[in-house]
Amino acid sequence: MRIVHYINQFFAGYGGEEKADLVPEKRDGAVGPGAALNAALGGTGEIVGTVICGDSYFNENLEIATPEVLSMIKSFSPDMVIVGPGFNAGRYGMACGMVAKVVDEELKIPVVGGLYEENPGLEIYKRHGYFVPTGNNAGTMRKAVPDMAAIVKKIIAGEAVTEGFFEKGLRVNYFAEKRGSTRAVEMLLAKIAGEDFTTEYPMPVFDRVAPGPAIKDMSKARIALVSSGGPVPKGNPDRIESSSASKFGKYSLADVTHFTPDNGETAHGGYDPVYANLSLDRVLPVDVVKEMVAAGQIGSLHQYWYSTVGNGTAVASSKAFATEIAQELLRDDVDCVILTST
C-alpha cells in the first residue's frame, strides 16, 4: 500500500517559526517522523512520498497552498495519507485537518492523523480522518507513532477501524435488532430501575453562561469592546481569516474617536461588508461609547479592543480565544464588556 505523509517545516528539519513561510515541496520516501512510522508499519505499507509545507504559508495562503499540496500528494498515487502528528500546534493542526479534508473529499482515500484533544484543527476537521489522540507536544512522539501505525495497519488489513481515534462526529444510520418502541420501553425500564442505559442520541449541550450581576453605577465602570464581527484596523494587520479564524487581534483605541473608511474594516466573510467598512462603528460602537465617557455616563473605556471572526469558527477555537481575552480583561480591571457579533 502506497502512503503519502504530510508534515510541516519543523518536522522536516527546516526550523521553527522563522521557517514557517516555507512553500510546499515534495520528496520521495519518508522524512522526519515518517521514518519511525515506516518502521512501525513493519513492511505492511510504505511511505512513498512526503509533502512538506510551512504552517504560516499554508494557513495564510489556503486557496493556493491547499491545491498545491493536494496535487503533490496526488503525484505519488497514494492509497492512504498520513498527516502529522500535529500535537497541540494550532496552525499545524489546522493544516493537517485541511489536508485531511481535501484528501477525503477529492481523492476519497483514508486519512490517518494525530492531534491533541484541544487542537482547534480537530474540532473542525475530525470528520475527515482517523485522528489518534496524542500528547500536547512533540515529546510524546514515541507514543503517537505506534498509535497511528496501529490504525494504518488495520486499514491496510481491511479491518474495521472502531477505536483508537477521536469520534468523527458523524451520525450514521443502521438497523438495530429491535424496533424503536421496544428500545424505548427497555431504556425506560432501565432508567426507572436506576440502571445504566445509553442514550442513542446524546443531546448537544449548549454552553450557557449566566449573566453577571448588573452594574449599578456605570459612571464608575470601566468597559471594553470585544467583537466576533471581525472589526480590524484598515488592512487587517494580523490577517485574521474571513472564516474559521485561527486567532484574535488586539488593537488600540487611543487614537480612534470614530471609524471611517480609512481607519477600519471588517475581516468577516459571512456578511455584506459594505456598511461595516463605511463606518466600523456599526460593528464596534466606539463613537457612542466615547461620547458617553465624555459626558460622564460611562467611567472609562479600556484602551484596547479585541476582535475575531465568528464565521465558521469552531466552538473550541472561540473558547480558547475567549479564555485568553477574559484573563487580560480581568488583569486590566475591566468591569464589563460590550460583546458584539455581526
Partner: protein
Amino acid sequence: MRLEVGDIIIKDVQFGEATAVQDGVLYVNEKELAAVAANDDRIKSVEVFLARPGESVRILPVKDVIEPRVKVEGPGGIFPGFMTDVEQVGSGRTHVLKGAAVVTTGKIVGFQEGIIDMTGPGAEYTPFSQTQNVVIKVEPVDGILQHEHELVVRLAGFRAAVYLGEAGRDVKPDVITPYETKPILEQAAAYPGLPKVAYVYMLQTQGLLHNTYYYGVDVRQIVPTLMYPTEIMDGAIVSGNCVSACDKNPTYIHANNPVIMDLYAQHGKTINFLGCVITNENVTLQDKERSSNMTAKLVGFLGVDAVIISEEGFGNPDADLVMNCNKIEKQGIKTVLITDEYAGQDGGSQSLADSTPLGNAVVTAGNANMVLTMPPMDTVIGYPEVAHVIAGGWEGSLKPDGSIEAEIQVIIGATNELGYGKLSAKTV
C-alpha cells in the same frame, strides 16, 4: 376499558368477484371498491391497483396508509367522527385484516408525500413493502384547493379501508389479543409493586396540511387530554397531514402504535401502564407553553413514575418535545424520548433544533437526510416526476432510467418516531 383485537392474517391480495377473505387471501371486487372510494362529488376518478411484497412496483406520491378494520362488538365504529358517529371506541371486539393495507395516491397535494417501493433498497426502509397493498389512486375534480384535496383523498382512503374491513366481520380471527386498561384508581391499585407509566403521544398539528384528528376534531384545537390506549385500535386518531413522509404517522401506524403495543406487552409484568396523554405541536409559543404545561400537569395528575414521549415531524416540534421533557422531568418523573434526526446528508450537523440536558434518554429513528438510490421499478403507480419536488428530493432526483436518488425522508415511515421500524443512528 377492554378491547379484543382479532387478527385475520392476510397473506395475499387478489382481484375477485366478491370482496371477501378466504384462506388468508383478500379478494377485492375492483369495481365495487372504486365506486365506494369515489363516492364524493369532488372526486373525478378512482383507480384501484394491487401491490404485493417483492413485486417490482413503486407507489408515489403516497398520502396515507390505512389498515382495514371492522368493529364486531361494542360501541362505535372504526374512524369515529369520520366514518361513524362519535361514540366512545376502544372496547368490545375489533377485527383486523392483518397484513393488508389501503394506500392512497394521486396527484400531489403538498410537497411532503412519499414513496413506497415493494422491492429493492427502498423497500428496506418502509414497513409498507411488507403489506399486501390495495392502492387507491384518487383524482379530484379540477380547481380544488389543496386543503380540500387532502380531505377528499383522506376520506376516500377511509371509505376504502372500512369497505375492505367489512370482509373480516364474520371471519374467525387467527389470533385474538385482549388489551385492558381499567379506570384510573382501579388500574393504579391493580399492580401496587410495579412502576406506573404513561405515554405522552405528540400529534402533528402545525396546520396548513399538517393536521391530525381525534374523533374528527382537529387536534390543533384541543388542550392535551387523557386517552385509553385501546381507543387508537379503533381508529380514534387519524392522519391528515403531509409532513415529510419519513416521520409522519400514517393512520395505519396510529392504529398499531408500537409504543402502546410494547407498553401493553410489559403491562402487569414490569410496569403498570396507566394510559395516554395526547398533545399537539402547534406553532405559536403560547400554544407550545400551554400544551406542554397541560401535558406535564396531566402526567403529574396521573401520578406516574415515568413516561415515554414520542414526537411527530421535526424542526419546530423539537421545541415541543424539549418543553414536554423539561416540564415532566422537573416534576421528578423520568422520561424517554423518541425522535429522529436531521443531521445533514453527511451526518455532520446537529440533529435537533432544540436541546435539553434533561433529555438524557433518547431513542432515535435515524437520520432522515441520508441519501439513498432506489433503482427503477417495472411499474410505477402514481406520478414518478414528483420525486423532484417532494421533501427529501431535489431537481434531478428522478433519473432518466427511472431510478430515484433522494434522502430517505421521501420514504413512508422510514424514520417513524413512534419507533415502528428498526432504523437507528450512531456517532462514528
